[in-house]
Symmetry: C2
Subunit: 465 residues, 2 copies
C-alpha cells in the first residue's frame, strides 16, 4: 500500500479524472479568479469530476495527502468565498450538471450540484412549474453553490431562502466519504436533520454533490408596481397592507440615494414617476392569471392610496414595462461610472430600525470622507438591506468604510451578512454578529467534520483557529 | 470548593429553585406520565425553573453530578419523547411562559419556551396577527416542545414546519452554559446556523429556553370545503389545480377506511356528502376577506369540477359548518369505541406512492390478523400520512404491527417519522429510514454536545451507543 503525498497527488488523480478532468498551469490561469474579478485564477490544479464517484475519489486522495481544497460552483459569490491560493486545489462541480428527475406529483426535482439555476428555471417553466429561488446571477450560479451559501434573492418573502427548498442532500465529506440524505419529503423528523449543517456553511464542512429540491406549480400572472412613499412608517404599513391577501411576492425598497443615482445623469434609465419621493417601493403580486394578478395588485394599491400610504404609483401594464421597473432595481451601471471605488454590503437588521440605521450610517461615513456616497436599497420585507458606498477619490483603505458600516450596524444588533455569506471578506467582522459561544461551537463543528481544515481553508474561520 | 454529587444534588437545587420550583415524591407522582397516559409520572424530582438563570443553574448542577435530565414541554408528544425513569430528573419549562415582545413592524415575536401555543394564537389574534403553525394539541403544547420536536400540523403546506418559523434561538447546553442566538432576521448567513441543530433534536442536544419566531398578518377570510374524489390521480391533480392561485392553505385527504369509521355507527358525526367516494379531501383557502376566500375557493372548485376531478363537493357557508367538517378530520372517538387496541403511525412518503402503500400495507396487515383495520388519512400535500390501525381482539404483540408498517414503508423509501419525532417509540426502526453514515454523524453530534449522555437519555439513540 502506497501513501498519497502532496508530491504524488496529481499523478494519482490523473487516471481517475482523465485529461479533461484535471487542469493545471495555463488551463487554470486562463480562467478568471471570480465572475467579478478578471485576474487569473490561482490554484495548484483545478479538478472537474464528472461523477459522484470521481468526486469522492478526489476528496479521498486530497485528504490522504492533507491537500487543501476549495469547492467551486458558479463563482458568482460576493464574499470571497471561493478565493484560492497557489497551494490550494480548486474542485469544480461544473460537470455534475444533470437534472436527474422532475417529479410533479411529489413536487420535487433531483439535481446534481453543478446545475445552473437558469437551466432549472427553463426546464421547469416548460412544464409550468417553478423553482422559487431567483437572483441576479441566475445565468451562472449553480444550485450547489446556492445551497452551500444558502442563497436568498427575490422570492424569500414568500418561499424562504435556499434552505427552505432543500428536502434531501448528498454531501461528500473531507475524507471522501459520502453522507447521503437524499430524502424527498417536506416532513422528516427521523433524528437530526444533518443537511441543515451543510446548507450555508460555504463549503467548509463538506462538498454538496446532489440534492432533492421543492418545486411549485407556476402561477400564470404577475404584476409589478412602483410606488412613491413619503414616510418610512408608511412603507412598513404598506408592506403589511399588501401581505393581507394581494398575492404579494416581492417587496423591494429603494432610498432616494439609490433612486437618484440609478435614474440620474450617470444612468441610461429614467424614473417613470414624475415627482421625487423619500422612498421608492417596487413590488410584485402573483395570481393564477394575469387578470387576477392585475386586479389583486390594483385593488390593494387603491386601498393603500385611500389610506394615504402612497404619493404616486405606476402599475406595469406589460411584461416589458415590468422589466423596465426591475431594471432600475438591478442596475449597477451608474455606480460604476460615477465612483472611482465602490464598496458593497449586505446586512440584516430589524425593519423598524432601517431608516435610523441609514441616517446614522450616512453621518458616520461623511466623517470618514465628506464626499462619500451611501446608496441604500434592498429586500426590506426580508429585513435585508444592500448598501452601495461610492467614493471619489478612492479612500486610502477599505477598512475605514467597513468599520463605519459594521460598527453602526452592531449598535442596532444587525447581522453582517444577510444572504452573501462570510467567506474571507467578512471574517474579520464576524464577532460583531456572533457571540463567543456561537463562535466556539462553530469551530467545534468544523473540527468534527474537517479536523485537518482541508475544506475551503480560511473561509469563515482562520486556517489555524 | 465542593463537588456536586447525585446525593447532594437536590439539596443544592433547593435554594436555587425554592419550594415551588423543586417537586419530589407525591408532588411528582400526582402528575400524569403524559397527556395521553394517566399512569403517575416517574422521576427523582421535577424541576420548575422560573428564569433562564435558574435553568442554567439546574443544568450546571445536574451536569456536575452526572445526573440525567428529561426536558419537558406540554407533554403532548406522540413518540415517548419525554418518558422518564425513577433515576431521571424531569426539567419542566412551564414557568418560563412569557411572551416577551410582539414586534409587528419586524413581524417577530420573542417567547420563552414554556408559552402554550394557544396563548400565543390568542394574543396575536387580538392584534390581527397569526403564528402560522397550528395543531390539535394547541391548548397544551408549548413552543419549546414544538421547536424541540420540529412540530408540523395544518399550516405546513404554505408556511413550513416549526423550523421555518424560528429566526433566533437560545439554548442551555448539557453543562449549563448558554448558547444564545437570539437573532431576529429572516436572513442571516453569518456563519453556521447553529439553531438548526437543536430544532427537531428532541431535547437530546440542549434545552431550548427562548426564541424569536416569525409572525404574519392575519388574513380575514377562510373557506373550507369537503370533496368526494374517485381516483387517486385526481386527488393529486386537484392539489396542483388548487395550488395555482386559490389561496390554498390546507389539503387533507382521508381514505374511505377513515371516513367510514369516523362517520359510521361508532361515531356521533355524520357525513355531509350524500354518496360514497374513494377519497375525501378537506381543504381550506384563505384570502383577505371572507368574500374573497369564498370566491377563490368556489371558482377553483368549479374549474376542477369542469375538468371532471370531483364527484361531489360541500363548501362550508359558516364558521360552524367549517368546524363541522374539520371535526371529522380530527375525530378519534370511533376508533376508541370500536377497537380493543389502537396503534398510531405518522409516516412520510412520495405522494405518488401513497395509494400503493396503503393497499400493500392493508394486505400485509391482514396477514398479521385478518380482522385488523387500517385507517389512512393525513396531510397529503406535505407527503405525510397518519395511520390508525385498530385490532379487536388486541394483538399479542405490538411489534408485528410496527414491523408490517415500517417494512412496507421501507420498500417505498419512506420516513418512519414525518412530524412526531423518534423518542423511544421509533428508535428500534430508525435504521430503516436513516443510513449508517447518517446514524454515525448523528451520534458524533450527540457526543459533541452531550458527551455524558445526560440530556433526554435513551431518546433517538440508546444510552450506551
Amino acid at each position: 500500500m502506497t501513501t498519497t503525498t502532496k508530491a504524488s497527488l496529481l499523478a494519482e488523480l490523473a487516471p481517475i479524472l482523465g485529461a479533461s478532468g484535471l487542469l493545471v498551469g495555463e488551463q487554470v490561469q486562463s480562467r478568471a479568479a471570480t465572475f467579478w474579478d478578471n485576474t487569473p485564477m490561482r490554484a495548484k490544479a483545478l479538478l472537474r469530476p464528472s461523477s459522484v464517484d470521481e468526486l469522492c475519489a478526489c476528496l479521498r486522495l486530497c485528504h490522504a495527502a492533507r491537500q487543501t481544497v476549495v469547492p467551486l460552483g458558479g463563482n458568482t459569490g460576493l464574499a470571497e468565498g471561493t478565493a484560492a491560493t497557489a497551494d490550494d486545489i480548486v474542485l469544480s462541480l461544473e460537470r455534475l450538471n444533470q437534472i436527474e428527475q422532475i417529479d410533479t406529483v411529489s413536487q420535487t426535482v433531483t439535481v446534481q450540484a453543478g446545475v445552473v439555476l437558469q437551466c432549472l428555471h427553463e426546464q421547469l417553466a416548460a412544464q409550468h412549474w417553478v423553482f422559487p429561488v431567483d437572483l441576479g446571477a441566475r445565468g451562472s450560479c449553480t444550485l450547489g453553490g446556492m445551497m452551500a451559501t444558502n442563497a436568498g434573492g427575490f422570492g424569500v418573502l414568500v418561499h424562504g431562502m435556499m434552505r427552505a427548498q432543500v428536502l434531501g442532500l448528498e454531501v461528500v465529506l473531507a475524507d471522501g466519504s459520502l453522507l447521503s440524505s437524499m430524502h424527498g419529503y417536506l416532513k422528516n423528523n427521523s433524528g437530526y436533520d444533518l443537511k441543515q449543517l451543510f446548507i450555508g456553511s460555504e463549503g467548509t464542512l463538506g462538498v454538496i454533490s446532489r440534492a432533492v429540491l421543492r418545486i411549485k406549480p407556476m402561477l400564470g400572472g404577475r404584476t409589478s408596481a412602483l410606488l412613491g412613499v413619503a414616510r418610512f412608517e408608511q412603507v412598513c404599513e404598506l408592506l403589511q397592507c399588501m401581505q393581507r391577501g394581494s398575492g404579494l411576492s416581492a417587496f423591494e425598497v429603494m432610498w432616494p440615494s439609490f433612486w437618484e443615482l440609478n435614474t440620474g445623469e450617470y444612468s441610461s434609465l429614467k424614473s417613470p414617476l414624475a415627482g421625487k419621493h423619500n422612498f421608492y417601493v417596487l413590488l410584485e403580486c402573483q395570481a393564477d392569471s394575469q387578470a387576477g394578478a392585475d386586479s389583486a395588485c390594483t385593488s390593494a394599491l387603491e386601498a393603500a392610496f385611500a389610506q394615504g400610504l402612497l404619493q404616486d404609483a405606476v402599475i406595469a401594464r406589460s411584461m416589458a414595462e415590468a422589466q423596465g421597473l426591475w431594471a432600475i432595481r438591478e442596475a449597477y451601471e451608474a455606480e460604476q461610472k460615477r465612483f472611482a471605488k465602490v464598496y458593497g454590503f449586505d446586512v440584516s437588521l430589524r425593519i423598524a430600525d432601517m431608516q435610523r440605521f441609514a441616517t446614522d450610517l450616512d453621518k458616520r461615513l461623511k466623517q470618514v470622507q465628506p464626499s462619500i456616497y451611501l446608496s441604500v436599497y434592498g429586500h426590506l420585507a426580508d429585513g435585508n438591506l444592500h448598501l452601495i458606498i461610492g467614493s471619489n477619490p478612492p479612500l486610502p483603505e477599505t477598512h475605514a468604510v467597513e468599520e463605519a458600516v459594521y460598527q453602526t450596524l452592531a449598535l442596532f444588533g444587525g447581522s453582517i451578512s444577510a444572504e452573501h455569506g462570510v467567506g474571507l471578506e467578512k471574517k474579520p467582522w464576524l464577532q460583531l454578529t456572533r457571540n463567543k459561544n456561537e463562535l466556539h461551537w462553530m469551530r467545534q463543528i468544523k473540527q468534527l467534520f474537517d479536523p485537518h481544515h482541508l475544506l475551503n481553508p480560511g473561509k469563515i474561520f482562520d486556517r489555524d483557529s
